[in-house]
């Protein structure tokens, strides 16, 4: 119980709320890392995922590769890459991009896969180009699942950047990994609380986004089928 009170005291201590090593600065840093990781991972995963979803080809390969990626122990990967690439942000960034790719990839191709084949077929039959089929039909209708993928990728990336603080990088993991050797448990716990809050807030934001981007007609469809099954 004492630890919790100490942690709270640590969290409100003005000394920890200012400067480059303070909670706000570290939070911004953490969010920056997270965003950078997700942007790079998305730039790789989404085009491939949507290409697989649109063409229906390469699904088996994608499942195998992303399954393999998922099986990699992230901390081990961070360490190995750091040995290969040296200290700095590049090694953990690479490891986390690899971690974030599978859920983004799966969200994209599963999202397209969930669209009725007859809807896509008729869009093509009335004269949409392949790009229009993608942009006007597959993409909007895939969003609910694609954002699910983004949510799970984001949570994993936020969580794992704290662990990456075994290397000399910033972010909220610093508090935990710097507090531990000097037995400053208030700092360790305080840092953990901030990371948990951050993860919850970001997930709530994405959950809200997910509700907003579900096309209205699709929502109506779900209500209709719920009513039918009731």
């Amino acid at each position: 119980m004492n630890n919790w009170l100490d942690a709270l005291a640590w969290l409100v201590d003005p000394e920890n709320l200012t400067g480059p090593g303070g909670v706000p600065a570290r939070t911004v840093e953490h969010l920056g890392y997270t965003l950078l990781t997700l942007v790079i991972a998305a730039a790789i995963a989404l085009p491939i995922g949507y290409l697989i979803g649109h063409t229906g080809r390469g699904r088996g390969l994608a499942v195998a590769v992303s399954g393999g990626f998922r099986a990699l122990p992230t901390l081990g990967l961070v360490t190995v890459l750091a040995l290969l690439m040296g200290l700095g942000i590049l090694a953990p960034l690479t490891a986390l991009v690899i971690l974030a790719i599978p859920p983004l990839l799966a969200g994209a191709y599963a999202g397209v896969g969930a669209v009725e084949r007859s809807t896509i077929d008729s869009a093509r039959a009335v004269g949409m180009t392949e790009w229009q089929v993608f942009a006007q039909v597959e993409l909007p209708l895939s969003l609910p699942l694609a954002i699910s993928g983004l949510r799970s990728a984001t949570l994993q990336v936020i969580a794992t950047w704290t662990v990456a603080a075994i290397l000399p990088v910033g972010g909220l993991g610093r508090f935990m990994l710097d507090g531990l050797p000097v037995r400053n448990y208030a700092e360790v716990l305080g840092g953990a609380i901030v990371v948990i809050l951050l993860a919850l807030v970001i997930d709530a934001v994405l959950a809200g986004t997910q509700r907003i981007v579900i096309p209205r007609g699709v929502k109506a469809l779900r209500l209709a089928s719920k009513r039918m099954h009731a």
Binding site: E116, S118, T119, D121, S122, A123, R124, A125, V126, G127, M128, T129, Q132, Q136, V137, P140, L141, P215, R216, G217, V218, A220, L221, A224
Partner: protein, 291 residues
């Protein structure tokens, strides 16, 4: 006019859906392709807008080989109506109808105005314009599908079992609506169905298909009923039994018409049916109403 000249379609798995088919589909008439599943009827239909390309042979529209046309452009000029409507679930009814107009660059306002007119044409209340497809009944969705097919005022309308998934009462309504539309618009309609009654009701020309896209008989309903080409056709149209093997029996108010199971199907009257709306259940000679 649409013409198939020795057209064959073999799918990558080796099945021949269509084998050296030759067929002429006249303009401004309804041609019905009827057959059971596996008869290649949908494949034939989809070769007209290049959703399927033939393995060999030529498909011509008004004398032009369509193999030389850009598929997207070709499809935008041909109406297409499919089973379960194929509407875009995330777009409102009005925007679904205007889909092809938007694609061809018609301004939004004009496209929507045209879409509203089309709702009148197909007998849909304009109040549905801002609903989503899932908020409509199956029959209403099919009407939206037909309106979308007519949006660019195409000469050709392809209909792939459009009324296959709605209940019999609604189906009958939609069939009558299509007859009315066809009287008003005079499109070249190619209609695919597995329902021979629907084929007799809607078709000016009917192609009865066997497995592998082979035409068992091509003709008007009268020709097919009065002179079925072979046992397959008689059995398919049912002239050998049941509701279509009718005979007369004298009754108090005139001659009773009795079907193959011995049940009365109607009475024989002297006046031939006049032009105008015909009602479900009315005994009606095929193709004698001057369509």
């Amino acid at each position: 006019m649409i013409e198939f000249r020795s057209v064959t379609k073999q799918f990558p798995d080796g099945t021949r859906a269509v084998d050296s088919l030759s067929l002429v589909i006249p303009s401004r008439k309804t041609t019905v392709l009827v057959g059971s599943s596996g008869s290649g009827k949908t494949t034939i239909l989809r070769m007209i807008n290049r959703m399927v390309d033939p393995t060999s042979g030529v498909v011509e529209i008004d004398g032009d080989d369509i193999a030389g046309k850009e598929p997207v452009k070709l499809r935008r000029g041909i109406g297409y109506v499919m089973q379960n409507s194929g509407l875009l679930p995330h777009r409102k009814v009005i925007d679904n109808i205007a889909t092809v107009l938007y694609l061809t660059g018609v301004a939004r306002g004009r496209a929507r105005g045209r879409a509203l007119e089309l709702m009148d044409t197909v007998g849909l209340d304009r109040a549905f314009a801002d609903r989503y497809p899932s908020q409509l009944s199956g029959g209403q969705q099919q009407r939206v599908g037909v309106a979308r097919g007519l949006a660019v005022d195409p000469n050709i309308l392809l209909m792939d079992e459009p009324f296959g998934a709605v209940d019999p009462i609604v189906r009958s309504e939609l069939q009558q609506e299509l007859l009315r539309l066809q009287r008003e618009l005079g499109k070249t309609v190619v209609f695919v169905t597995h329902d021979i009654d629907e084929a007799f009701l809607l078709g000016d020309q009917i192609a009865i298909l066997k497995t592998g896209g082979e035409i068992a008989q091509l003709g008007t309903p009268t020709e097919i009923l009065s002179n079925p080409a072979d046992d397959f056709v008689s059995s398919f149209v049912g002239t050998d039994r049941g509701a279509r093997a009718l005979h007369l029996a004298p009754g108090r108010f005139g001659n009773l018409v009795i079907d193959g199971t011995g049940r009365p199907a109607g009475i024989l009257v002297n006046e031939s049916p006049t032009e105008g709306p015909s009602w479900p259940g009315q005994t009606r000679g095929p193709s004698t109403d001057g369509r």
